[in-house]
Amino acid sequence: MKRANFEKEDVRRAIDESLSGVYFNAEDARRVLRGVRGREPERRGLPSPRRLRLDLAFALTLAVIVCAPVALLLVRAHSMRPVAVAPGASTPSPAATAEKRVLPEDAPSPESDGAANEGEAIRAALACFEQTCDTSVFTADEYTVDVSRQEDGADGAVYEVCMRSVYDNGCAFTVTVSLPSGRVLQHSAPQLATVPAYFDDSSAEVRSWYDKYGPYLFAWEASAQVEFSRRYEGAAIRAPRAGEMTREQAAQAALQAARKDGDAAALLGDSPVAYPVLYGAQDGSSARYVVYCFAHAVGAGAEGDCIVATMPAAGGTPSLRRLPREEWSASI
């Protein structure tokens, strides 16, 4: 196997060799059988104790969700006002599902003596976020904040502050703040806050992008490509920078190269259309344009094969390859 190339057989062999010590053993099987026997009442339509516990938990959770905000509002309404705490708080919130962040006023905690209150815990968490996470990816404004108080942790009474991305991309950042001192005790790994954990096509957020801009990402307007990629793909696609070709230049370079290539020119005809996408430098590879060239604009449903031109973002000779319709339409 060459190091930078891999086939299915290579991967299969590599994983089987590397994980030869990982197998589904007798203990696993026993646990499964115990598990299914424990769940048999459910199969016969009888309520199992586990099911009842879940139902009860659901009811309690629902009650908390419905009642807690109302109770909080009633109790604290007189002492709450919006406070801008994060850099960029003056910038508009993302149109997505950003929730209004409202922090309790800096009133001293009723039960103490200098102990941190929720607002201070949130401020400490936001400061921790600013210090440890890459804020060039997402700013604090792009997270919702939940705070919960825990009394009996290993660190004593603490506030758990959880920041979750408003984009439904799995990004989250959790900070544990000491209740007595208001100091940050620990936080989750910074990359969990900024590297999208999953891409859920069924998410309403994601679907709304495709509904608005169409099924082919390369044909989206540039700003939409970049923003979508930032939110859901770890910013694989970005806008050109100084010293790099513009998208128009990349498109022209791709079409020019295609004209000089007999097969490509024959495929694209007299009025080709080019769709450039700029992928940033990642994992050691340099930034590059991938330009999809078609004989006609996509969207009419009659698209055929396309020519894909790849070239360094800073400029260079495009390399061309023909992509059958089933491949390019499946690659977006």
Binding site: R3, I15, D28
Partner: protein
């Protein structure tokens, strides 16, 4: 009428046939052994809960069916971890990867796969390790075929880059 014995026989057959593959996919997806054990066991428990169509021969591709359950079990596990605010993922080096002499390439490739984001790792495992075609991968992952193809291309680029970086 399907008896409990018949269901358990079918479950046992599934575990014997696919157990190792399911557990390894879970292990590489979650990058954490105890979570992988839980996810693999949960996979077969869930399979048992919906095993009647399989016993009746109504499921055409039992491997894809089972792998979809495994993928969902892993996703549930990841989401549960998030909800608990605990980062259970271990470093790659902490995984119980065997390192038999003469298999450096295998280890490098596996390590490179582990560095991929979850969405890419899932796809690489299904396509390259489990051998599913892209259409099946898309169905298993609950995504469209175009997205699967695009995601696989991204994964390939990242994997090549990771392998090149490792020299």
């Amino acid at each position: 009428m399907i008896t409990e014995d018949a269901r358990e026989r079918e479950l046992t057959r599934l575990m014997q046939t696919y157990g190792d593959g399911v557990k390894r996919v879970c292990c590489l997806t979650l990058r954490e052994m105890s979570a992988a054990e839980d996810a693999a066991q949960e996979t077969f428990i869930k399979a048992y809960e919906h095993i009647d169509p399989l016993v009746r021969g109504e499921i055409a591709n039992e491997r894809a069916w089972l792998m979809r359950i495994a993928v969902n079990a892993c996703r549930d596990m990841l989401r549960t971890s998030w909800m608990r605010h605990i980062d259970r993922r271990q470093s790659i080096e902490a995984l119980p990867l065997a390192a038999p002499s003469g298999h450096e390439d295998s280890l490098a490739l596996t390590q490179a796969i582990l560095t991929l984001p979850v969405k890419h790792r899932e796809l690489v495992l299904l396509h390259y390790y489990q051998g599913f075609n892209l259409k099946s991968c898309a169905q298993i992952l609950g995504i469209s075929a175009p997205t699967a193809t695009r995601r696989l291309q991204q994964a390939q680029r990242k994997l090549r880059a990771a392998l090149e970086e490792r020299g």
